[in-house]
């Protein structure tokens, strides 16, 4: 398929702007807008599109589900992705019963998830061909810093959490990336962040360019993680890599971080695979950071690039 044509039926102009920007960023050439149910049906009667993004909440009397039934009368096979401000299970069930390709509730960055789905539709005839976006890799960076290890991937997740001031973090590894639930700065709510596998090469390159192999040397407001998420998650990731871990979770509680997954465990000299569950209190975190840093330095004794600050010290 050449660049797909996508019809967006948004709740309002702001939502259209976000979706349109994400779609164009994903390489969608033509994005059209229809306002409400009647305009959508009129548009589909006049023009062609390859996919439709339909909001559950719409201006006018008909909601997205009702509009979908109207769409089905004209284009029974049109792939429709429903987006919604509501996170309710009821809306999700209604949408799937009505035959949507997928249902994406509003959360931070949901427009990128939608753009990804449209790209999947576009790529469907050429299944198996993985499209990797062009990457800007900084020069003179050690190759080991750019590998998609847990150390490097968790590090960039931590970096983003630090940059935007998130706290109370829960990380789940899912097929193709990580889902992070965290509370944003100055808010008691919880947001969902998605880190998709293909993003990591660029995110890791960016993090390495900014901080190189360096260790953070300033204090962070949480008592559990004295130097923030980037260093903590990097140290956890280092340990996970050493244990050849898979399917990991990281949960931050009040005075405790819990790391789980499946990996190699050593018991009385025998190495086998099994469930991993590590608990880190604040003292353990300091030891973990120190140990991971020292071992990294021994394994890669080159001079760090970027803002290296030397050995971690408990603050």
């Amino acid at each position: 398929m050449s660049s797909p044509v996508v019809l967006v039926v948004p709740e309002n102009g702001r939502q259209f702007g976000l979706l349109s920007k994400a779609l164009r960023g994903a390489g969608v050439g033509e994005v059209h807008q229809a306002e409400g149910a009647a305009d959508t049906i009129r548009w589909l009667g006049l023009y062609h599109c390859d996919a439709c993004i339909l909001s559950y909440e719409l201006p006018g009397k008909r909601n997205g589900i009702e509009t979908l039934f109207d769409i089905r009368n004209h284009r029974p096979d049109l792939p429709v992705i429903m987006v919604s401000r509501s996170n309710s299970e009821k809306v999700a069930v209604e949408a799937f019963h009505a035959g949507v390709l997928d249902y994406v509730p509003a959360s931070r960055g949901y427009e990128h998830a939608v753009a990804g789905l449209i790209k999947q539709i576009e790529a469907a005839p050429a299944a198996g061909q993985d499209v990797v976006p062009a990457q800007i890799v900084p020069p003179n960076v050690d190759e080991h810093l750019l590998r998609p290890t847990y150390q490097n991937r968790l590090r960039v997740i931590g970096r983003n959490l630090d940059l935007y001031g998130y706290r109370r973090v829960n990380i789940l590894e899912v097929d193709g990336g990580f889902i992070v639930r965290a509370s944003p700065q100055n808010s008691r709510g919880v947001e969902t962040l998605e880190f998709v596998g293909k993003q990591f090469a660029q995110l890791i390159a960016n993090a390495t360019q900014s901080r190189g192999d360096g260790e953070r040397a300033f204090s962070h407001p949480t008592g559990l993680l004295p130097t923030g998420y980037e260093d903590f998650l990097r140290a956890v990731g280092y340990l996970l890599d050493q244990h050849a871990a898979e399917a990991i979770t990281v949960s931050e509680l009040e005075e405790l971080a819990v790391v789980g997954g499946v990996g190699r465990v050593d018991e009385t000299g025998v190495s086998r695979y099994g469930p991993i569950q590590w608990l880190f209190r604040s003292d353990d975190v300091a030891v973990l950071l120190d140990r991971a840093y020292k071992q990294r330095r021994e394994a890669a004794p080159r001079q760090p690039v970027g803002g290296g600050k030397g050995l971690f010290r408990r603050l």
Binding site: N87, S88, E89, K90, A92, V93, F96, H97, D102, Y103, V104, P105, S107, R147, P148, T149, Y150, L172, E173, V174, D175, G176, I179, R181, T192, G197, L240, D241, A244, A245, E246, A247, T249, G261, V262, R272, Y273, G274, P275
Partner: protein, 151 residues
């Protein structure tokens, strides 16, 4: 170093009486890709009958706690008492946030739990991680240790 995980297909038994939750859970598992096979029964009694009569044991049971007739706890207790079934991992599905339910589930030998949240996205993420976890456990032939093994 961990790269993208190649999932081992799982045979899952879903024990859930709410048809909406069945739809969402089946859909979420289907969206994971792979070739997971999901059998569904809608109460505890049918779950036990199914497990007693089948030769194809599930690799994972997703078990609702609150069901008419036998509760999820009853089914879990039966499983852990049954020599043929006690090693099947069981992840409890709970719609309550009650810590006591979770604690009781672990006491009875549950391998984990998934709160059935009102957010579909959360449910999908939790199921995704659970399936990855048990795929890895199966690939490495890890059998969960239950309380019964420790006695």
């Amino acid at each position: 170093m961990s790269m993208a995980i190649s999932q081992t297909s799982l045979r899952v038994l879903l024990v859930e009486d709410n048809p909406d939750h069945v739809l969402l859970i089946r859909r979420a598992i289907r969206d994971l890709g792979g070739e997971h096979n999901v059998d569904t029964v809608n109460d505890g009694e049918h779950a036990i009958t199914h497990l007693e009569t089948t030769d194809l044991f599930p690799d994972l049971i997703l078990l609702d706690i609150n069901m008419p007739g036998y509760s999820g706890f009853d089914v879990l207790a039966w499983l852990r008492d049954s020599p043929r079934h006690k090693h099947i991992p069981v992840v409890m599905l709970t719609s309550s946030e009650a810590g006591s339910d979770v604690a009781r589930a672990y006491e009875l030998g549950a391998s984990g739990y998934i709160p059935k949240p009102s957010h579909y996205q959360d449910l999908r993420a939790l199921l995704n991680n659970t399936m990855l976890y048990w795929s890895a456990m199966r690939r490495h032939n890890v059998v969960p240790v239950t309380e019964a093994d420790n006695e």
